[in-house]
Symmetry: C2
Amino acid sequence: MMKVSVNGYGTIGKRVASAILAQPDMSLIGVSKTSTNYEAYHAQRLGIPLYVPKESIKEFEDAGIKVMGTIEEMFRDSDVIVDATPNGVGAQYKQVYSSLGKKSIFQGGEKANVADVSFSALCNYDEAVDKKYVRVVSCNTTGLLRTLCTINRVEKITKVRATIVRRAADPKEVKKGPINSLTPDPASIPSHHAKDVNTVLKDLDIVTMAIVAPTTLMHVHMLNITLANQVTREEVLSTLSSTPRILLVSGKSKITSTAEIIEVARDIGRSRNDLYETVVFEDSVSVKGNELFLMYAVHQESIVVPENIDAIRAVTGFRDGLKSVEMTNTSMGIRKGYLV
Amino acid sequence: MMKVSVNGYGTIGKRVASAILAQPDMSLIGVSKTSTNYEAYHAQRLGIPLYVPKESIKEFEDAGIKVMGTIEEMFRDSDVIVDATPNGVGAQYKQVYSSLGKKSIFQGGEKANVADVSFSALCNYDEAVDKKYVRVVSCNTTGLLRTLCTINRVEKITKVRATIVRRAADPKEVKKGPINSLTPDPASIPSHHAKDVNTVLKDLDIVTMAIVAPTTLMHVHMLNITLANQVTREEVLSTLSSTPRILLVSGKSKITSTAEIIEVARDIGRSRNDLYETVVFEDSVSVKGNELFLMYAVHQESIVVPENIDAIRAVTGFRDGLKSVEMTNTSMGIRKGYLV
């Protein structure tokens, strides 16, 4: 049993904690919280051990939240620490993890050099095996890499030109905008996503342009991929529909938007309406000469969660990437094929 | 003096009417209305003659709105009719215009075959001269064509791969969505915009992907243009900044979004905060080999208005396209260079 703790219990941390609880080969030592917010109360209700900074113990106990110990005590009891602290904070914690000799998983909000390797399970599981520090790339980069590494199995990709329409805020966020604007993110080209893809697919010719739109549900990517040789639409669809962590939505099912995709996630009883899968609009998959076009949606809150689970296995020396992906998928109900 | 009437006084019609009033060589015979809504009251306040369907005269007079006559009487008194009726209605009216022997201008919501030529002033003014029926392409296609014909003057374009993030509704619309979704428009590729660009640039290799986002202010286009030969960023910026109907916004001015662009339009006293110009994010103009990348914003309510004015001149035999564009720009305060 791998003993894992999660530092930070926000959007990503709480989902990673739930996923760890579902794994047959992992035990959750606990999670850390710095704020006595609704997520702390919910963790307590779930029976998840809560660890807090030493100076916050009284605040938590005054708020009626039972504290198991200090964050450092949680770290000491862990084999692997998943850092799910806010962007940039993970790099500061790295010194603590390092001084305790603990392996750790960072999120895509950290710079690539925080870790030995940037990670996307379907692309480079092997590179992360036995590494000390692994960084799971961001939600958008995970969406890009999962798709590109899958298409690369159909035919060699020579060039990618992608645009990313980002959701403005997560559903729980109340202080972020825009509420009525399209905001290039940034106006300068390429956006950082291209560079982030290159941390894993090092020689790929990729340019990304990104813009923020006022919606909370999912990102959408629009890809123009140039291939070394022409492929058929059927070949691409066949590979996409047989790849785990990729789902297709068909125009026939009247699913035309991210709103309807999330409605399906709610209907089928997904925890927190999460969609760990990349959701490809089947009708968008088009071929013109040796170019491939497609559009897909990325659930920003959850797509990196299975990748975190696989990264935990990799750093602890579990060598079979395909097996890890399968274990993660089975335990979390992650599918392939068609959403409906 | 060209005698012009505007059939339909909604988002486009009311703006075209205002623009006609500003032209030294045109007189506005009147506008038509079918609904006794706030726009009808405002037209009356402005002293614009209102014409209505025969069967609606009593309804308008009961509502306290003075009617000058029937729509058909308005048509008879006109040299040119600008059709600004809802999508598809223009094609039905064409029979009426034709039976009266009147020249007419249609909007981009009509199919291309409604007219002898699809029109974008900076691309193909000459083709519209003396034609009987001209169709001004839609706001998105106007944005694409204005930009592409300008870039074509720098270097021959061989390929365009564009994504379009559409505003969901106009500011005045209260029954349209999405309110929280990204909706491929449509999921199938290409979107109709590529085909519409081909009505003017007939042999251009262009693929467009479009998506709707919940915002009302402007569309944004993200272009990847392949050129026959490499150009410098400076050459492109120099041409963009010296082309009328194109404005640049610079990161230095802290304009980072469509919201701030529209705020400037309000600050500088633009009527209805209209921006007839294509607004290019200067920071986005990038060159990689023989590829050019850029992002720009399109004000969907007003970008086609100057094109309608030029189209009126063209069908009445005014041969000098550059002169028409200059007259339209001067009369409407349309600029080039930098927005701020």
